[in-house]
Amino acid sequence: MPTPLRRSSALAALSVLAVAALAGCGSSEDKGDDTSATSKGSGASQVNVTLASGGGGDECQVDTKELAAGPVTFTVKNESATGITEVELLSGQRILGEKENLAPGLPEVHFTVTLGGGDYEIYCPNAATEKTPIKVTGEASASPTGSAAQQLAQGVTEYTQYVNLQVDNMVTAVRNLQKAVDAGDLAKAQQAYGEARPFYEKIESDVEGFVLPGFDATDNHGNLDYLIDMRASNLDPAVGWHGFHAVERDLFGRKQITASTKRLAAELTTNVTKLAKVAKTLKLKPEDLANGAAGLLEEVQANKISGEEEAFSHIDLVDFANNVEGAQQAFEALRAGLTEIDPTLTETISKRFQAVTSMLEDYKDPNAIGGYKTYTPQLKKTDANKLSQTVQALQDPLSRLAEKVATA
C-alpha cells in the first residue's frame, strides 16, 4: 500500500520516500541472516532491522549502526518477535520514520529517509533493548527541526482561525434563536435551535472547561460549559438548568414558549458571548488539536449515538455530524505535519474519516431540523451499532495522534 506523500517544504531535510511492500504479497520465506548494509541499486544506504524472540525476550537487531549521510533505506522484518509491533527512527524525541502493524510472518517493509550527520536511534517499543543508537557521519544537514514542526504550527494557526469563525457564527445563531423565542414563534425557534447547535458542537472540546473569572473551578455557577450545554441528566441542583438544552426542553418537549424560555434564551446569548471572548484568547498547541479531535469523537460515542444529548429535539445526528466535522478540521490542520511524522497513520485516519462522512451522507435530510434525520428510538435501535462501530474505528487511530505531534 504505497502511501502518497504531500511535499510542501523545500527545506525538508528528510524525506520519506517509499513505504510498504506489503500489498498482495504473501511471502513467508525467512530472509536468513542477510546483514549486508551495502548500497543497493537505489543508491541509498541500507539498514536492516530484524525483530526476533531470544533468550532475553523480544530483540530488535540493527545490523548497521554507523553510516554516511544521505538517503537511507530501513528494511524491517519481524521474524518471531510477538511483542513488537512497531519500529521508529528517532532524532531526539522526534519521529523521522516508522513502521507499524509488524508481526511475525508478514513480509518485510521499508522506509527511506535522508539523514544528515548526527545521532539517531532505532526505537522498538517493548523490545528487551528498546533503543539502538545510530551514528551518521558527514555534513549535518540544515536542522530538520523545520519540516514537521513548522507545518504543525502553521496548521494550528489555521485551525485557530477556524475556531474563531465558529465562535462568531455561534453568537449570531444564538441571537437568532433568542429573536425567534422573543417573537413567540415556536416553529421558527425550533429551526433556529437546530441552526445554532452545530457551531458549539464543532468546537466544544476546545472551549469546555472555561471558568468565569472569580469563580472556583468546582462551582458550576461560573462553568461556561455547564451554563451553555448541560443536559437534564447531569444537573447540579445548586445551579439549576440553563443553556441550550433547557431551551430545547421548552421548544421540543413542552412545545411552548414562556417567560422562562425567554429568560433562558437571553441568558444563553449572554453566555455564548462571554465564551466567544474567552475563546479568542486560546493559545493552542498541536497536541491540543489532536486531543480535541479525539475528544469530539468521545462526545459522539458517549452522548450522541446514545441519543442522550438531544433528548427532546432528537437532532443528535446533527450534533454527531458537527462533532465529526470539528474533529476532521483539527486533523486536516495537522495533516501536512503529521504526514511527515507518520504517513501510515495519517492515511488510516483519513480513510476512516471518509468512512464516517460517507456513512453520514445516508442520514442527510434537508427537510429535517438541522439537516439530518431525526434520531428516533427506532432509528437508534436499527442503526446505533453501525454508527458506533464506524466511529470507533476512527477513534482508535485518532487517539494516537497526540503523542505523534507532541514530540515533533
Binding site: 506489503l22 500489498a23 498482495g24 524472540s53 518471531s80 510477538t82 517493548n126 487517539s399 497526540a402 507532541a406
Partner: protein, 430 residues
Amino acid sequence: MTSEPHRAQDRTPDAPATRGGLSRRRLFAGAGAGVAVGAVAGFAGGRGTANAQPATDAGDSVDLSRSHTFYTGSHQAGIETLPQRHCVYMTFDLTTTSVTDLQVLLARWSAGIAQMMAGRPIGTVAPDRAGAVAQDTGEAYELGPSSLTVTLGLGPGVFDGRFGLAGKRPRLLADLPSLPSDSLQPALTGGDLSLQACADDPQVAYHAIRDLARMGRGTVNTRWTVMGFGRASAGKGQMTPRNLMGFKDGTRNIKEPAEFDEFVWVGDDEPAWMRGGTYQVARKIRMDIEIWDSDDVTDQQRVIGRTKEVGAPLSGKKEFDTPDFHKTVSGKAAIDPTSHIALAAHENNGGIKILRRSYNFTDGINDLGQLDAGLLFISYQNDPGHFVTLQRRLGSSDLLNEYIAHIGSGIFAVPPAPREGHYLAEGLFS
C-alpha cells in the same frame, strides 16, 4: 521502557510453571488438592501436559501460572486442551474489502495471542511518551497465563467474493442449513471470524477478547458474544462437569488422541493450509431454567437418559457404564429412545462423534423477569455434517426441546496453529 516490570516474569511457554510471584493467586479446587500439587508440578507445556492429570477430582485443579503453547505447528490450542474454567466467545464481521487488511489482522492477532497465552501483555501498558495511548489495556497485567488459549475460526464470509479467496474455501465450509427447532436470532448468528478465549481466570479470557477486538477495529466489527462460565464439557482425566440443568455433560465426550484423529482433525482431503485444522460449530442455547426446575427429577432423568447425581445411564449403575439402548424394564425401554443421550449416541448415529467443548452462560434477567441462562455449545468436528446429522435428530425428537432453544449459531473453519515466525491461516495469502 527497559525497566518494564513484566519482563522479570517473562519465560518461554514451555518452562516449568514455578513462578513464585504467582503463588498468591494460585488456588486449587477439590478435596485432593495436596495430590494435585504434586501432579501439576511436573507440568512441561503443550499437548502432552494437557493429558498429564490424574482421573480424579484432584485433577480438577487450577494453577494460574500454567500456560499453553501457541506455536505448535499442528493443532490450535483450545480444542484438545483440557477445558479451562471460563470462556469468552466472540464473532466478528469483516468491514474491509482489502485482503491485505485481513492478512495483517491475522498476523497481528497471532502475535497478540502468542503474547497473551504466555502471560505477557501485547505491548506497553504504560507508555513513556507523553500523550500516548497504551498498546495493552492492562487488566490482565501480572495475572499470569491462567491456561489461556485463544482459538481462531474463519467463517464462510472470508471465502465470498470480497477478498479473492473463493478458490481457497475449505471443502466443507458452508452456512449451516436450517435445522429443526431452530429459533435463531440474526443478531446472535454468523460472523466472518470467531475467537474462543478460554482461561482459568475470567479476567484473563476477557482481556484477550477485548484487546484482540481493539486490535481489529477498522477491519472488523463485533457481531455477537457469549461470556461462558463453568466448563460444561469434560476433557480427558477431568471430572465430568455439570451444565445448568444440573446433569453431568460430556461423559462420552471425545477424549482419546485416536478419536481426535478420526473425528476432529481434518485430513488430506482439505487444502494444505487447513490440514491439522477442524470445523467449529457454536450454538447459543437458551435454557428455560424455571420450567426445568419445576420438572420432577424422575422426568428430568428420563429426558436426559441419565441419573442426576451419578450420571449413570438409566440402563446402568455407574457414570461410565456403556448405555444399553435395548435394555427394557417392565417391557419399556430403560433409556427412552427420545431421551437426549439416546438421540445423540454414536451407536444410534452411524458411529458419528463430535468433540463438545461447551460452557454455561448467563445474560442476567430477561424481559419476563426470568433467569436468562443456558449453554454456549461449541463443537469441533472434521465434518460439519456430523453436527448437522446429530442436531437434525435432536431438534426433531429430543425430549429436552421442551426446555431449550437454539438462539444463536455460527460455523467456522479452524486452521492449524502456525510454527514460530508465522501466523494463523498464512497459507491463504501465498
